[in-house]
Symmetry: C2
Subunit: 341 residues, 2 copies
Amino acid sequence: MDQDKDVTIYDLARVLNISVATISRALKDDPVVSKKTKKKILDLAEEMGYRSNHFARNLRNRRTHMIGVIIPRVNSYFMSTVIAGIEKVTNEAGYNLIISQSSESVAKEIQCVRTMFNNRVDGLLVSLAYDTTDTSHFDLFQRKSIPFLFFDRVAEDNRWANVLIDNRKASYEVTSHLIAQGCRRIVHVTANSKSNVYSDRILGYKQALADHHLPFAEENIIRNTLSQEAGGDAAAFIRQMDPLPDGVFVANDNCAVGCLLALKRSGLRIPEDIAIAGFNNDPVSTVVEPNLTTVNYPGYEMGVVAARNLIHHLNGTSGIEVTNTILLKAELIVRASTQRG
Amino acid sequence: MDQDKDVTIYDLARVLNISVATISRALKDDPVVSKKTKKKILDLAEEMGYRSNHFARNLRNRRTHMIGVIIPRVNSYFMSTVIAGIEKVTNEAGYNLIISQSSESVAKEIQCVRTMFNNRVDGLLVSLAYDTTDTSHFDLFQRKSIPFLFFDRVAEDNRWANVLIDNRKASYEVTSHLIAQGCRRIVHVTANSKSNVYSDRILGYKQALADHHLPFAEENIIRNTLSQEAGGDAAAFIRQMDPLPDGVFVANDNCAVGCLLALKRSGLRIPEDIAIAGFNNDPVSTVVEPNLTTVNYPGYEMGVVAARNLIHHLNGTSGIEVTNTILLKAELIVRASTQRG
């Protein structure tokens, strides 16, 4: 299929050997057409990337000046800074943003992709849901040569352009820092997710243990939703571990803060009894006492870089295809919650 | 103009006494048409609510199953909980959400409204930018009978349906509580905004002072961006006031936390020297020490109520026109930052 040509109802009619009038009626959900035929037509329409507004072909070379953003949720400081970065760039370039959230569900993410497609966005920026492993729902955009790229939570298969940090390296640094502070039994609290963000952090944690000749134990990995409340629950779990861990590395600051507060309330001294580190450098990391050691995750810069690459591509000044992965710097920020010296 | 009929290029041609071909070319931004003529056509097109996709009339009675949400920013805990509430309801009703942020700018908000209109959302939920006072950009939706309602930051003129809390009452309760704890010189930190949210809180604060025979002084109102950093700056300002205030009521928790931490660092005891209260009940209010007295702002419920009203209207089970204002409960939560007893 020629990717620069829009699929028309004539194409659908030819493939199915059904009259154009019937195709047209089916797409308008006319009760005259049987359910079975309708299904056949709609399935093919989807497969071939037919746009729900079939007048779209008339608007083909017209830009909508809309950029779509699909994210898991808008509820984190990190994500709001990414969006601020995207907004800055797209706004200056004369584009409007429309944002849609997958609520960490693959099914919802597929819906979001279709909504964005039917709204004819000029380009798409995506951070994947927790358990998206198959990314074939983006083929729709690929087939139409509508540019898109992933940021933070990126596609496993690495076929597309990605903007992210070196999660493995950052996690390695946090874990090595805890070891340097004398921690020997380090628990890692992470998301129950297959996403690169979390799997890479586990790899970094393991690598740091190995490089310092410390044993890795599966039971030292606690998986939860990474909310502040989940941090409290993790603390209760940690409290009854025997021997008591002496270090906790949590994959985000919210959960680390919940964990820190609960461990403090249970009578432990932070960092003397247990050192705690988080990830993201959310403002809450400087509110909690002691202040939280964390990794500065450059959300705003990530948004700027992702949007800039997309816009450059739209303006024809650079191709997304040639870019594969852009890594941004993320550095360890040592604060009182781990400084035992 | 009949509000159920879409404006066509023929209507534009008739009104302007210009050929349909010229109108069509102007709308496609064809260089053949002079700038002056184009401007005339585009201005009228806007005034008459012509949709940028003029094929839209063919799709007239077709729902897009999209609900648009326009908010100032996605960067607050409060707003993310509102969106979660909206999402729950719209998702269950089979609608997709598209979100767009005004970044606190009226100009951007007007753009967002047009984007939503051109995307043919079935309905719209809006929280206004800081300085939106004129809401005529929503007339576009009104004229087409596309339902919309405001939440939290609502329209001044009260022509539309609103979902909000009684900001005046909540603020009255916070201020009265501070007075009951012995505070006599209470500073109010608020946004530099004309929005109902902030003006109503100022009214409640003033009313409480008056009812307790305490003088109101304009210099006790500090206006800033309500960010955590701005809270630190407010603290520096408060520190040099003479006599030193003994109570601070901040219009959100983020700013209250920044203020509390900076006052603490400057050597003051909270609440003995200065009692501090915030607003929203963000999670950070239970992280800061001492924990922050605040108002529980039911964001999730607000999202649910706003979305439910819109969906009921779309399903024809209730009219938005008959509803004017829905007030949700918001109650004072007293914590250590104000308990001097």
